[in-house]
């Protein structure tokens, strides 16, 4: 078992708690950079999707996992980012400028949604964000001069430093670098006063306020950051799908994104990554499983949605901390072997006010 001996305050501020973590994360990043040399093009394409979902996951995690505000409308922010990217690139702006602008446009919509949402929590906020998603999807379908309506919209190709990006592995590197930047920013934010203020709002608004946290400011900020990050993911998503249509950003997609962070594990950035892998891998697993399932089940049109729903229910019932929570338990089991106590993670019944998850 690793025992971290703390001798200076600096150790609690560091990005990585100990040398082992530095080693393993460096190895992971190196492996990610080396992946296109080893892996098939198909897998690189799939990992690119996982990276994009990871960025969305980080965005949604800031809002739902850390600030405790549930959003059922994140596909809308993704769509805003995607359409903004396609439109701006079509206007002849360079890729390096369109991606941040797409993020900013989505963030502006995040603020627009966040301000009226200040007075809402829990289910009411979920309904408000759901309504927002429906309105935005409708706008995508109707605003034909910009989005092309149901006819769809072709996303222009990327040119970066004079190089045309058309190979999958080139785009993979772009997504990887953006993911790393977003991850770095999110990690920094969460270990600084802003991150603590968001967690404080999640756990007890009244106490946060008494400690000097401006609720309106930080909730709006959380919405803006979350929407902005999702918008950047949307810009990348647009290039990945090449062709945008309003159906791509439906309510079902919003719900899938929420499933992603819940299954991954609310309240941790690891959870965002695990959730993204889950969302990326599950459709593949289902399509493979279809060949082995009896015809009556395998050919059901809504099989995927059903499986998603079932998995969400099972996670909420048996592993509320998600895949990350499960991972922590497995890790602890091996660290403490053979002294693992089941009760370590047993949830205590408690009737404190702040225990309510909102």
């Amino acid at each position: 078992m690793r025992f971290i001996f703390k001798t200076e305050y600096q150790q609690d501020v560091k990005l990585f708690p100990h040398g082992g973590a530095v080693f393993w994360y460096s190895l992971l990043i190196a492996a990610m950079f080396a992946a296109p040399l080893v892996l098939d093009e198909f897998y690189i394409g799939e990992i690119t999707y996982v990276l994009i979902f990871t960025i969305i996951g980080v965005g949604l995690m800031i809002l739902t996992g850390y600030t405790g505000l549930v959003s059922l409308g994140h596909a809308a922010f993704l769509g805003i980012g995607a359409y903004a990217e396609a439109y701006l690139l079509g206007q002849g702006l360079p890729f390096l400028i369109t991606v941040p602008i797409s993020g900013f446009i989505a963030a502006a919509f995040g603020v627009a949604l966040g301000v009226p949402a200040l007075r809402m929590t829990g289910i009411y906020l979920a309904i408000a964000t759901l309504a927002f998603a429906i309105i935005v999807a409708e706008v995508f379908a109707r605003w034909e001069s910009v989005t092309g309506g149901y006819g769809g919209m072709q996303v222009p190709d990327i040119t970066l430093f004079g190089i045309d990006i058309y190979e999958d592995w080139q785009f993979y590197y772009i997504c990887l670098i953006v993911t790393l930047i977003v991850m770095f920013g999110a990690l920094n934010l969460l270990r600084s006063p802003t991150g603590r203020a968001l967690v404080a709002i999640r756990d007890s608004e009244i106490a946060a306020q008494s400690m000097g946290v401006n609720l309106a400011k930080y909730k709006t900020l959380s919405f803006a950051l979350s929407a902005g990050i999702t918008g950047i993911a949307g810009a990348l998503f647009a290039h990945k799908t090449v062709f945008l249509s309003p159906d791509s950003f439906s309510i079902v997609f919003s719900i899938q994104l929420l499933v992603m962070v819940v299954v991954g594990g609310l309240g941790s950035l690891h959870g965002a990554v695990y959730g993204a892998i889950f969302i990326g891998a599950l459709p593949q697993i289902i399509s493979i499983a279809k060949d082995y399932l009896p015809h009556a089940i395998g050919e059901q049109p809504s099989l995927e949605a059903g499986v998603f729903g079932l998995i969400l229910v099972l996670f909420v019932l048996f592993e509320p901390l998600g895949i990350y929570g499960r991972w922590m338990k497995i890790k602890l089991f091996f660290q403490l072997f053979p002294l693992y106590k089941k009760a370590t993670f047993k949830r205590q019944k408690s009737y404190m006010k702040s225990e309510r998850v909102r």
Binding site: Y9, Q10, D12, V13, L15, G185, N188, L189, R191, S192, P193, T194, G195, R196, A197, V199, A200, R202, D203, S204, I206, A207, A208, Q209, S210, M211, G212, V213, N214, L215, L221, G267, Q348, S350, M352, K353, S354, E355
Partner: protein, 252 residues
Amino acid sequence: MTYFRVEDLAIHFGGIKAVDGVNFEVEKGEVFSIIGPNGAGKTTIFNLISRIYEPTEGKLVFEDQDITNVPPHQIAKRGIARTFQNIELFEHATVLQNLLLGQHAHRKSNLASELLFLPGVRQQELRFREKIEEVIDFLDLAHYRDSMIMNLPYGVRKVVELARALCTEPKLLLLDEPSSGLNVEETEDMGFWIDDIKKDLGITVLMVEHDMGLVSEVSDKVLALNYGRVLATGTPEEVQRDPEVVKAYLGG
């Protein structure tokens, strides 16, 4: 001028006058207790001072400044911190993170510098840490530094909440029933700490409390409240002997 003054404070919820024309003055460096039966309006007064409720009437004056219209999140910056009757800690965070949030009012970094975690932000974190370590030493919490709040027993949570309030470096500390849910020993400790907060840290304490033992041990002045009105003010002995107070508690 008095240090902290409440003038004709009143709040009405519909027809219910929860606080009805309350006046009192707190001198710098004293422990001032508010007592009264359940529903007398004690916590409501605290919520009015921390600006969670909007008073129907009246004025709050702290250090010669009118704070009646200061927004709630700026109260901490003015030097007023509070604890809560039912403990409002951030359950899914460690003790350290809870205490660091106490320093939030002293935050000087902005969002951009935090996203990049510039050296200034790092130094600020270390400065915050040094400040809260003083409080950890003071309240003997070193053992619990890295524990999650949800895994802590009630008595410790109560102390952590007091610590978090002290981390804001307050001048006036509002304690809402500091001894509720504590056992005899813990209550005794709490009494010593309140005394130390007053004498060593020089913080003025305003306290709501039911335990008369604790009240008479630490308070310089006591105010008895019933149905939102002041029954009596004075030293603990005076108030306990006051016929109105006896009537309110025992019926008459």
